[in-house]
């Protein structure tokens, strides 16, 4: 039973610097890192290797003491060169200097017919052991799933609708076999359905075309139509006490590859995007790669920001920082650390706005690609405007009421208003369009943590 869901609410932030659909060869990255901070909700990370150890791709590097069955594996083989800690010895990065030739830990291999007869316990054990489990995310909360849970369904969003998002057709080219194998394995993990949600507005990319054993649903509309949280809301919404899992298509492929080939393959294609990028293209690398080879000499100016991920949910990293665990995209943006004389009053057609207040002319050219910098365009104020967050949230939720409930730390109210149905990315557009410049995503995470640990 597949569904077609047409969403009207939302907003596409059209930016300059879309990646050209070709894979360009860059110098390979020298170092790779796993960052515990990429895993929201990880409470007590513990490193299980030492500086100087040699590891293979798939060797466990760390665990979360609160969920110690989940292993976090080395993306490449090489030497652990640094275990970087911050204040109060907080674990920040585990850095590996990569070998020229990657060698892999050998895990058990299954044939395609073996997969069919796999039990849930076997499938879980294989995924855990092979270090791919962190690809499975749990709703509510948006944290790494607990293997002991029984999810009511598994949701895969087959497309990314974020600004300048990469095309999964390019990212996963030629991985059909592994994608299908991944789905077959995921089906063992739930008694419910596995949903594959595709973009109604574009052609089905070959990697999904032959997918079997899944419920294919189609979504149309502006961003956040590609957000798995929005999709869940329309297919089978989260209620209190329920658990569902979500997996990125890349994770599905990784799972498939692990079981079919017996290796932890962390190679990935990333899109280098943004108006600052001289060459906005796709590049082949591995998970957690140092981004210096993509950024040096590839920017138009010197005052730029490197964002791991997209402009709505991404994280600023250094020009020689490391790609986030779940990210398939780098966005290079001009920094906005300048004053602008009477900036609040000037008419402008070069700055994008969802609004049409006096002098904001971007609504006149809806198809233009904008160059946006990181300036906040104003200061934080109290909530004043009403009714606009709803226009970019295609869910039956009152975002401002939910945010206020979180700020007031009112647990009952948060539950009743739908805290279980959202994570940061689902309300990220609210943060973008907010007149009063609230840190909406930060507030959402605070609410989730309050509920999670209550």
């Amino acid at each position: 039973m597949s569904k077609l869901v047409k969403l009207k609410k939302g907003f596409d932030i059209k930016l300059a610097g879309k990646a050209e659909k070709k894979i360009e060869a860059f110098q390979p990255a020298q170092t790779f890192a796993i960052k515990p901070t990429d895993f929201v909700g990880m409470q007590r990370p513990k490193v299980i290797v030492n500086e100087g150890d040699t590891v293979k791709a798939g060797t466990p590097l760390m665990i979360d003491k609160k969920l110690d069955s989940v292993l976090y594996a080395a993306p490449v083989s090489g030497e652990v060169v640094e275990i970087k800690r911050g204040e109060k010895r907080k674990l920040l990065e585990i850095k590996i200097k990569a070998d020229k030739e990657i060698s892999y830990e050998a895990f058990e291999k299954y044939s395609e017919s073996d997969l069919k007869s796999l039990s849930k316990a076997q499938a879980t054990a294989a995924i855990l052991k092979g270090g791919v489990w962190p690809q499975i995310i749990q709703r509510p909360y948006g944290i790494v799933a607990n293997p002991e849970d029984e999810p009511k369904a598994i949701f895969i969003s087959g497309f990314d609708s974020h600004p300048l998002a990469p095309d999964y057709g390019v990212l996963l080219k030629g991985q059909e076999k592994y994608f299908q194998a991944g789905i077959n394995v995921l089906k063992k993990l739930t008694s419910g359905k596995v949903h594959l949600n595709l973009d109604q507005q574009s052609e089905v990319s070959p990697v999904y075309a032959g997918a079997q054993g899944v419920d294919v649903n189609k979504f149309s509309g502006p961003h956040p139509a590609g957000n798995v949280g929005v999709q869940i809301h329309h297919l089978d919404p989260m209620n209190k006490g329920e658990v569902a899992w979500t997996v990125n298509p890349y994770g599905v492929v990784q799972i498939g590859k692990l079981l079919l080939e017996g290796i932890y393959d962390a190679s990935k294609v990333v899109a280098i995007t943004g108006s600052e990028a001289k060459k906005a293209v796709y590049a082949k690398t591995f998970l957690g790669a140092c981004v210096d080879k993509f950024t040096t000499g590839n920017t138009h100016s010197t005052n730029f920001r490197v964002v791991s991920g997209n402009v709505l949910t991404g994280e600023r990293i250094n020009a020689d920082g490391y790609l986030g665990f779940y990210d398939h995209q780098l966005t290079l943006l001009p920094e906005g650390d300048y004053y602008e004389f009477m900036g609040w009053a000037k008419p402008t057609s070069t700055k994008l706005s969802f609004h049409r207040a006096l002098g904001l002319l971007s609504f006149l050219s809806p198809n233009k690609d904008y160059v946006l910098d990181t300036n906040t365009r104003g200061e934080e104020r109290a909530f004043v405007q009403t009714g606009v967050f709803e226009q970019v949230t295609p869910m039956d939720i009152f975002p401002v009421y939910l945010l206020k409930a979180i700020m007031a730390e009112d647990f009952d109210e948060m539950e009743e208003l739908g805290i279980y149905e959202v994570i940061e990315e689902d309300l990220a557009l609210c943060e973008f369009i907010d007149v009063s410049k609230h840190p909406v995503q930060e507030i959402v995470r605070k609410g989730i943590e309050l509920i999670q640990y209550s």
Binding site: I13, N239, K240, R305, V311, L312, T313, E315, R316, L333, D337, Y338, Y339, E340, F341, M342, G343, W344, A345, T348, K351, L352, S353, F354, H355, R356, A357, L358, L360, S362, L372, D373, T374, N375, T376, R377, G378, E379, E380, R381, A382, F383, V384, Q385, T386, G387, D396, I397, V400, Y401, L417, A428, E431, F432, I433, V435, K437, V440, Q441, E442
Partner: protein, 400 residues
Amino acid sequence: MKFLRDLLDKQKPLFEKGGKFENLYYLYEAGETFMFSPNHTTSIKGTQVKDAIDLKRMMITVVVAMLPCLLFGMYNVGAQHFMAVGESAGFGEKFLLGLKLVLPLVLVSYTAGGIVEAVFAVIRKHPINEGFLVTGMLIPLVVPATMPLWQVALATIFAVIIAKEVFGGTGMNILNVAMTARAFLYFAYPAQISGDKVWTYLGDKVAVDGFSGATALSVAFQAGQTGETVSSALAAHNASIGDQLYSFANMFFGFIPGSIGETSALMALIGALILIATGVASWKIIVSGFAGTYIMGLIMNAFAVNEFMAMPAHYHLVMGGVAFGIVFMATDPVSAAHTETGKWVYGLLIGFLTVIIRVTNPAYPEGIMLAVLLMNVFAPLIDYYVVNANKKRRLQRATV
């Protein structure tokens, strides 16, 4: 602009933490951000780029939408004066007189309110909110040009403190601040804001024989008491001056006595168009507000027991402050209903209540002021039911 920037940068350390005037930081901030939008950049995590809008721009949009009302109001103050004293005058003369009378009111309102805002910003350590740009303009527009300046100042101070700051400042207030100021004036100094004498500025001149300064509403109200039909009462009014002062067209265009900004329904509609086109005010409140007024006017017609009740419903839309009140007061996002469904109900009830108060209360003829204040109080209740419906849907889903 470099000079200005340098000057600001030089003073900045004085106002920052540890500086000599650190207590006054938010005053400095207000001045600085007014001249230059800040150099803040987005944080490490979260949205890396931001929409070009900010609160200043949104508020200034409302101020611009009020300008037609203000400018026309200035002209009309002059026009009414010369008509009442029986002199003819050119457009410029009329406008200048109006300017001379209205500008001090605007300045006093901005100054008095601005001082209160600044004092609270310093004591409570919160930024000065741009919302006052709007409030400061609204207050002079809802009083007659003859209003004593000190009363305007007092009302502004009262409203900003009691209606806003005691609740925690902008965004937390329950009542519309400008409407509260007007209500304060209405109940504290009724002699200066009600009756027939206050709406037209006479200065030291004497009005022509037969002149009555009564507003259209009060003429209609009187008709209700005497049994004359409203339309003939309006037609007969000020017949000595010549023109039919209270023709429907005059009331629509606003060439009638009244509070400075509220006489012209047309100017309010132009403001409404600006607000709706820019998306700053809720079109739902505006549409449902007018609809509510008209519908209740029709209902009153159906059950008319006196001539005021029998007055054609569309007259309600152009008389008094309905148009201005619905467009600029009811749509204040903070004190209105916050949910979209709620906004329909809220606007509709404002319209209903305005006409009910107008027609059925024996004391005074205008209703929009109390209707807006009353619905401000009820808006959270409306939202409560809308939000509760959402919660119930969620709960039902879980238990099915």
